[in-house]
Structures are given as structure tokens and as C-alpha cells.
Symmetry: C2
Subunit: 388 residues, 2 copies
């Protein structure tokens, strides 16, 4: 009987998520000659609806070209399958004759795989392959997609630093990160020198306080003549209210259909702009929302990230005969390698930045954090210091 693999991509795309698909497909063909590899369109939705492409029909060259292309070639979904949905997915997998289902996504995806595994009751392997620009999966030293996004952010902040040395002022770059500040911390990865940007970093892991923020901006201006800030979209006050909720009048808050305050968007940027205009009147200040720009930018795909994403896919397929599990990128002090961990170990859990990644008193990252960043994204550029 032909071995059949089903692969799906879920959640927000990254610059290297297609590498995982290619790695899985090529490994499947290597280990199981003549196998069928089906790619589900738009994640688990495609399995439920029977919409697949036959990845095993593609040549290696075609697969490698897809692999090098950012974002999810199979499409993705934000659907979070409940019990009924999982039943439909399981039915779809059985109809496809799947021996294994490899689902590429974040911690929710690992949870979906656990539910499906239990519902299937044996006879099918359920693998989770890691993926997120937020770097917030437990068991993983870092996650596929993070390094490329981090390179975008790091490059953007040294570029803005050079810009603001030429024409000084205040700049706030708002970076995605609802729960974890890793991507925002990446703004510091390539900082130019002692007085380099970002001067201040605000992440979800530490409560934001308006007066401290303004005081820090004023102190930075006094010291450096400019102030560049990296801020996560998910920063919250000491009560855990997102900054948007704390600063924007309730009647002006956008909410999604679940009643959750919409965080993605320019609300936070606007709120910060008003705050600066009120508390630092006349001070030139600019706020930009990086938004989706870092997450699959074709100009900043990291080779290391691409390689690790590919290997994660290959490892998922190589693990199929061990049963179900989550592929985790782990670092032993010398190198990163894939390990298989229990789906439950990853499902629904969020990794936050370690406490020692933030300076104990100041709003910036620590030396430990910079060491971590330097390991993942070594300096790529050697800009000359300006004369100003």
C-alpha cells in the first residue's frame, strides 16, 4: 500500500514556512519511494473540504522554488477546530488514506494535532512542525520564521538610527508581538554602538507605565539628542490591560466578533503619538507600525532560518514511525538540532522572554538577550558611523 502523507500550514505565514513543506515532501519521497504527499489548501479547512494539491507530483526544482518563496503556498487558516470540526478533519484524512498528517503552525496547531490523535485512536501519526515569527513555542530554542523576521526588524532599526542621527527626533517602531517580546527585542540585535538605537524597548512581559515612558524619552533626548523606541503591539499596563485599551476612549475601541479588543492595527501607534504630542509638545516625533512587513519579507530571508525550517519538515517525516509528536528546535550549547517532544508539551503554551533577557531597571534588553540574538542573527552589515 502506498504511504500517504498529508501536510498543512496554519496560522500567520512566515518567510520560510514553505521550506518546511519542501523538507517534508522531499524526505517522504526519499524514505518512502512512490509515496503520495498531499498538501491541504488553507490548512485543516482543506482536509475537511477535500481540497488538496499533490505535492509528490512536483519536481525537486519546483519544490525548491516554492521553498524559497515566502508565505504559505498551500494557503493558511486561522480556524481553531472544535470537536465537530476535528471529526470532519479526521474523516477527511481517512478519505485521503493518510498514514500521517504533518501540521505546520504555532502552539494552537500542536493542540489540534493532540485532539486529532486522540480521536483517531491509532493507525495514523500526527506530527506538529513548529512555525512562528513570535518565537513563543515552549521546548524550542527558537522557531522557524523568527530569524528572518528578526533580521528585518534589526536592519530596520539600524537604518532608522542612521536616519535619526541625520535628522534628530523621537521615533517609535511598533513591532508585532501580542504575548512575547522576542521580535521587538530583535530591534537591538545589530545596534550600532553604545548610544545606538533602540534606546528604549517595551515588551508585553513588562508592565508599561506612561510616566516612566515619557521620563525615559526625555532623559534619552537629553543624553543623545534623539530617542528611538522599539515597542510590541501587545504591551500592557500593570493591570494587564493592553495599552490600546488603557489609552483609547472605550467608544473608539475596535472589537472583533468575540468582543476582543483589536490589537493589530494603528490604534496603538495613534495612542502613542497623542501621548508624545501631549507630554512632549513641539517635539518632532514619528510612529510607524511595522505590522506585517517583517513576517514574510522577500528581501530579508535568512539562510539559517530557511535551512532549519526545511530540516523541521524532514524531521517530522522521519519521526512518523515513532508515532505522534511535536518537532522542536533545541540548542545544546553548540548546535541546534530537531527533537521530538509530546504534543501536549507544546500545545496551548506560550513561551515568554526569560526574565533575564530584560535589564532589571531600564527599559532595554540585557546582555544575555544580545548574546542570544547574536547567535541567531550574527551581524550582516558593517555601516560606517556618521560624523553626527
Amino acid at each position: 500500500m502506498t504511504a500517504t502523507f498529508v501536510i498543512a500550514q496554519g496560522g500567520g505565514p512566515t518567510a520560510v514556512i514553505n521550506q518546511t513543506v519542501a523538507g517534508a515532501t522531499l524526505e517522504a519521497r526519499r524514505r518512502y519511494p512512490g509515496c503520495r504527499v498531499l498538501g491541504a489548501l488553507h490548512g485543516v479547512r482543506g482536509i475537511r473540504d477535500g481540497n488538496f494539491v499533490t505535492l509528490s507530483d512536483l519536481t525537486e526544482a519546483e519544490l525548491r522554488r516554492i521553498a524559497a518563496t515566502p508565505s504559505a503556498a498551500l494557503g493558511s487558516t486561522r480556524d481553531k477546530p472544535d470537536a465537530a470540526y476535528c471529526e470532519a478533519v479526521l474523516k477527511g484524512l481517512k478519505q485521503a488514506g493518510a498514514d500521517a498528517f504533518i501540521n505546520i503552525g504555532g502552539n494552537d496547531t500542536s493542540g489540534t494535532q493532540a485532539i486529532l490523535r486522540d480521536a483517531a485512536g491509532g493507525g495514523m501519526a500526527f506530527l506538529h512542525a513548529p512555525k512562528t515569527i513570535d518565537n513563543d513555542l515552549v521546548e524550542n530554542d527558537h522557531t522557524p520564521g523568527f530569524i528572518s523576521a528578526a533580521e528585518f526588524v534589526a536592519g530596520a532599526f539600524i537604518s532608522v538610527d542612521l536616519d535619526f542621527r541625520a535628522l534628530p527626533g523621537v521615533y517609535v517602531g511598533i513591532v508585532m508581538g501580542r504575548h512575547a517580546g522576542f521580535l521587538t527585542a530583535a530591534a537591538s540585535a545589530w545596534t550600532l554602538d553604545e548610544g545606538g538605537a533602540p534606546h528604549l524597548t517595551y515588551v508585553p512581559e513588562r508592565p508599561f507605565e506612561r510616566k516612566s515612558f515619557i521620563d525615559d524619552v526625555k532623559a534619552t533626548l537629553a543624553r543623545h539628542g534623539r530617542c528611538i523606541v522599539a515597542m510590541s503591539e501587545g504591551v500592557a499596563d500593570a493591570q494587564g490591560r493592553s495599552l490600546v485599551e488603557a489609552l483609547v476612549p472605550p467608544e473608539m475601541l475596535e472589537r472583533d466578533q468575540h468582543g476582543n479588543v483589536r490589537l493589530s492595527g494603528t490604534d496603538l501607534g495613534q495612542a502613542i503619538e497623542r501621548m508624545l504630542a501631549e507630554d512632549l509638545p513641539g517635539q518632532r516625533a514619528r510612529v510607524d507600525t511595522f505590522g506585517y512587513l517583517p513576517r514574510g519579507n522577500i528581501a530579508t530571508i535568512s539562510e539559517a532560518d530557511a535551512r532549519e525550517a526545511f530540516e523541521a519538515g524532514a524531521f517530522a517525516v522521519a519521526s512518523v514511525d515513532k508515532g505522534s509528536g511535536s518537532v522542536a528546535l533545541q540548542y545544546d550549547g553548540k548546535r541546534t538540532a530537531c527533537r521530538l517532544v509530546a504534543l501536549e508539551a507544546v500545545a496551548g503554551k506560550t513561551r515568554h522572554m526569560p526574565a533575564d533577557f530584560l535589564h532589571p531597571e531600564e527599559s532595554r534588553v540585557s546582555a544575555a538577550c544580545l548574546d542570544y540574538l547574536n547567535r541567531l542573527l550574527p551581524r550582516r552589515y558593517d555601516p560606517a558611523k556618521p560624523f553626527v
Copy 2:
């Protein structure tokens, strides 16, 4: 007597403005061995205050490293010299023993050079070297700084297109451009295919109308399942009011010290988000403000742009014995070359996108515009089409 050149950078920095400084300095040393080249810190302010660095003391390797670094190594200024300021600048030039002053900047800078030339009354050459990401200098086919910024924007829009094919919705990218839409038009330079992003383009050269915009977004969603929009910060309604003024309640508008509505910032993004939330309730929509990200991004420096910026600086020095003038990049149908034109020809004038660069009925760029963009920034990437 030693030939003495003064160089300054003015206005917003670009990715290649230091190339112009290096080109001028190296050409000066080549043509006038033993000359002195002084770089003024923070533009004309440095000349007024006597703050210079001696560029002629740097090695070629140091100059080339500075040249490859984005943003203004000499610092810049937004000062617009009036008669008294110009007197002070002229005095500073005389004290420095300047034979020629090369000022790198936009159309205001050409005007400054004309005022100084007239006040000097002979004995000193005043050159203007072009620079702007907005591409809005008359007499120029395109301007140094534009191509690199355009490459950032073009790459960002195909990346977002791939992202939104995976997870469909509405996306609006707001691009700098107060008077001219060239940089916003660049979003279309590398569009993936017939149905590729951006689907809609809104620029200052064409009045924006809310109902048309919403109708166009709805039609695009119906046709493609997603809608990606490129919009200039400077879009205005039929009365010439900036969109921010038209959409934001007057009491909430930010104004600078001259009473001008502040355009740069997230105000427009917020206004567009609200518009979409009101007129397309429940539709997933995201607005990102590119802001300063395209203008000196270290990851997207165009080699062609760098070379032309370097040549503009060299040409400025080569033109000194002809007297004063503005260096213009002109295209003869085959190649781009520098020409010297009168300072008045460029001073204070804004080049808008040609009318035939926009589709006559639809909110998008024309084939003529795409030909222009393809010449300046040929496709750099070959992404695979997704399956969705």
C-alpha cells in the same frame, strides 16, 4: 592657492546620499590634487556655525565605506534659509575659503543655492546635487534615493500579496509621498501576476473619494477574495484637503508650529481603518504605515541608485568651472546621464506623476508607469505562485 570645496546634505536622508558625498570628494581629489574638501555638519547649519569635517583627509576606503552606508553621514537639516540665514552661510563659506559649495538635497536646496549665488555676486560656484525618495524634481528622469526606496516598497507589496493569498483580507500600505505618488506607484513594480497586489493605488495626483474607494475595495474582494491597497500619505479630496483633514474631527488634528496639519504619522492609517470598519463591518482589514522604513533601509540599497548618486556628486565637482547649476539625471531613451541645468529650473518646483502614469478610469497605475518602473528597478525576485 588650494582649491576648497564645501559639501552639505539637506532634507530627508536616503539610502545613497553618502554616495554623492563620496563621488564629489573623490572627483575633487582627482581633478584638483591637494584640494581641501570640507563636509558641513547638519547641512547649511554647519556652514553657518563653522562645523566641518575634512573629508579630503579620509582614505578612499573610508570614503567608500561611508558611501555604502545609508542616511546622511554629515547629518542633515530641515532649515530653510531666509535672507539673513543666507548671509550667515555666505560668510561661513568665505571664512572657509570655499571656491565651490555643493549642496545635496531636493528642490528647496536648489532654491537655496540660487539665493546664495546671487548674494555672493561671483567668485564662488554654487552647485545643487539632486536627492529625494519622492522622485519629484523637475528636469530629472528620476532622482538619487528613489530607486532604493522603490525597491523596498515593491518587495514589501509582493511579500504582503503572498501573505494575503495565504490568509485573505484587506490590507492598506501607506507610503510616504506628500505631493507626488511615484514611491506609492512603485508598489506595482514587481506585481506577481494579473490579479496581483496592489489592486488599488491612491496617489496625491488624483482626488480621493470615500465612496469610490469602498466600492473598489468591495469589487476587488468579490473578484480576488482579498484586496491590497497602496496609498500615499498625501492623498487629498477633490477640494484639495488632505484625507486626514477630511476624515479626522478638527479638534483631533495635530498641527505643527506653522499651523499645518501634520501629515506624517499614523493619523491617515487610523482614519482609513475606521472607514473600513464602518463601511465593511466584520471584514478583516489591516493598515500599516511604512513611514520612514523605505527611505534608508540597509537591506534594500540598489546598486544602480548608488552608482547614479555617486556620479551626480562627481559631476557636480566636474561642473564647478562652468559656474553654478543643478545636476539633473536625464534619460535619452537609451541611458541615464548627468546634465547641468539652471538652478531656477529646479528650485521650488515639484514634479508630479505624468497623467498617463495612472489608468484613466481605475485606481491603479498604467502600462506606461510600469514600463518606467521596470526600467529603473527590474525584477529582482522570482517567487513561485502559491496554490491559492
